[in-house]
Amino acid sequence: MSTASASLRRPGRLSPRRLLDAMQSLGLLAVLVVVFIGVSIAEPRFFSSDSIKAILINSSMLAVCGFGMTLAIALRGIDLSVGSVQALAAVVAAKLSSTGTPLALAIAAALLAGVIAGALNGVVISQLRVPAFVATLGMMSIARGVALIYSNGGSFLVSDSSFTDISRDSIAGVPLPFVITLLALLAAWTLFNHTPFGRHIAAAGGNEDAAVASGIRLAPLVIIVFAIVGLTAAMAGVLLTAQVAYIDGTVGVGFELNVIAVVVLGGTSLAGGRGNLLGTLLAAILIASITGALNILGVATLYQYLAVGLLLILALALQSLRDRLAGRSSADGGE
């Protein structure tokens, strides 16, 4: 009964939609706090600044790429190519840097490679009308091939210390990769929530026909959003290069599914129309914390997979229960 009137009222700040997003973020925060307290009691070293810094650094790649993915999913798309694009960008950055190219130029080239790959995804989706799932599945294969061809199957050691310092420096005690993550969040959040472009993403993702009928031009929207996803995947590639310094064409395999898992865990619905960027960040930190906690407790890697898998299913089961209790039709949350 109340839902009809609730959906008619659209007060600017506290629409039901935003309330749900906030609830999701609070839920993630609660789980995060529980993990931290529980693990810290079992192993006090977990609550050291070194350990927390490591968690923040490890969450950065997932979060940054997650922001791009959140926009794509809000547009009712998906990008399966981010792992390969990450590898492509990492190989470009590492190869250029190891052959003496200045840092800024190497990073710019890597980011450009990501933007081009992403924009191509957008063109294939909007102009050739290939479903995003298939178009980016194709790009996943193509970008991986290009990364391997460009590296000639070899690997590169980044010796430029100013490059590797990106993952070691801090600003006011906050690791630089996480500062970059926060800046990326600010940019994505502003774009998504406070510009006409962002509103168009949500509108087209919620109801494409209505969006087109109301004069939104779909093609540029799709191309720019996927170019942004490519950019964030490339940023993740640069962060990876800075962190491990030793790069070949096979890095980043499976990254796409981790990123999608983080976005979904963060409360962004695959049905499109809305995106929870803060949730994406919190989910990335949560996953990195669980990985860090299991590492410090000396638990085998396989339990990380188990934890991520069960968390994902549990979170979505709770979401769908919540939606049903809220009286919304379950049909709109389908595949």
């Binding site: 050739l128 298939v134 979505l316």
Partner: protein, 319 residues
């Protein structure tokens, strides 16, 4: 007259795009490569196609029903591991049956999570991919299960009636799935469900049961693929099939089955699975490096669906 021929030709190409492309590719390869036609090469192509092909049979029905399954790679590994462990003790037949039942149970579990917990199939099976991988790693301790039973290995590497055994199993799987899809009430319900879930519910179709059964069917197919793959490489381990889910979905989609559900073609998936193997075989024969095969595979996938999109836009109105 020539108009009728042209319109007939257009219809055939529109309806059997992937089949026409496959036949064209085969003819080109026969004309340009002396090695392609050798029985050894053809044997290899058909044998390789079977693993993705068998998984794609079940996946076609699942995609027609409006869902899909991202957890098939570790599921395949688990079934291979089970068969590898059992075959020494219980013999060939029981080991295979156990692997198929196990696959069916894993698929059922996916279906139950989707229907009972109401988790969208994409996320549910993404989560189960991690869970199954963890189970496989725990089970094998990360080690490789070596298989030495010779009659088991013959399933993967042997021939029967002059045809590679895995390919015979692939034909059998498609025959069964085709019968299920087009000749049974269950198949009708799958197609109805994929076209319009709400209408199917209103029409009294037991939606949850159909969904669970279809996930279970995928599990059984994947179990069979797992047994055959373990037999071919004479071992089983947790990560043997990494990326399998996307190869299977690619074969189904290139074959002409719509990711939106409701319509699809098993013959297309069958052809699609062979087609991808054939593309990499062609590149091998022409001596094109393996890195370019990634690029070619991706381009094939995008072109196959892109042409369809362009055709709909500019050439033919959708039927």
């Amino acid at each position: 007259m020539s108009d009728r021929v042209r319109s007939a030709l257009t219809t055939v190409i529109a309806r059997y795009t992937i089949e026409v492309v496959l036949v064209t590719l085969v003819i080109v390869l026969l004309l340009t490569s002396s090695d392609f036609g050798s029985s050894q090469n053809l044997d290899g192509v058909l044998r390789q196609s079977a693993f993705v092909g068998i998984g794609a049979a079940g996946m076609t029905l699942l995609i027609i029903s409006g869902a899909f399954d991202l957890s098939v790679a570790p599921m395949l590994a688990l079934c291979g591991i089970l068969a590898g462990h059992l075959v020494g003790d219980v013999g060939l037949i029981l080991a295979i049956i156990a692997a198929l039942i196990f696959g069916g149970l894993l698929g059922t579990l996916n279906g139950v999570i989707v229907t009972r917990l109401r988790v969208p199939a994409f996320v549910a099976t993404l989560g189960m991919q991690y869970v199954y991988l963890a189970v496989a790693l725990a089970w094998t301790n990360g080690a490789v299960v070596v298989i030495t039973n010779t009659s088991f290995l013959a399933l993967g590497a042997g021939d029967a009636l002059g045809i590679p055994t895995p390919f015979l199993f692939m034909i059998g799987t498609y025959a069964v799935c085709w019968y299920l899809l087009w000749r049974t009430r269950y198949g009708r319900q799958v197609r109805a469900l994929g076209s319009n879930e709400r209408a199917s519910r209103v029409a009294g179709i037991p939606i949850n049961r159909v969904k669970v059964a279809t996930f279970a069917l995928v599990g059984v197919c994947v179990g069979l693929a797992g047994v055959l793959l373990a037999a071919l490489v004479s071992s089983a381990d947790s990560t043997v099939a990494t990326g399998y889910e996307l190869n299977v979905i690619a074969a189904v989609v290139v074959g002409g089955t719509s990711l939106n559900g409701g319509r699809g073609t098993l013959v297309g998936s069958f052809t699609g699975a062979i087609f991808f193997t054939l593309v990499s075989n062609a590149l091998d024969l022409y001596g094109i490096g393996s890195y370019w095969q990634y690029v070619a595979t991706g381009l094939v996938l995008i072109t196959a669906l892109g042409v369809e999109g362009l055709r709909r836009r500019f050439w033919l109105q959708p039927a």
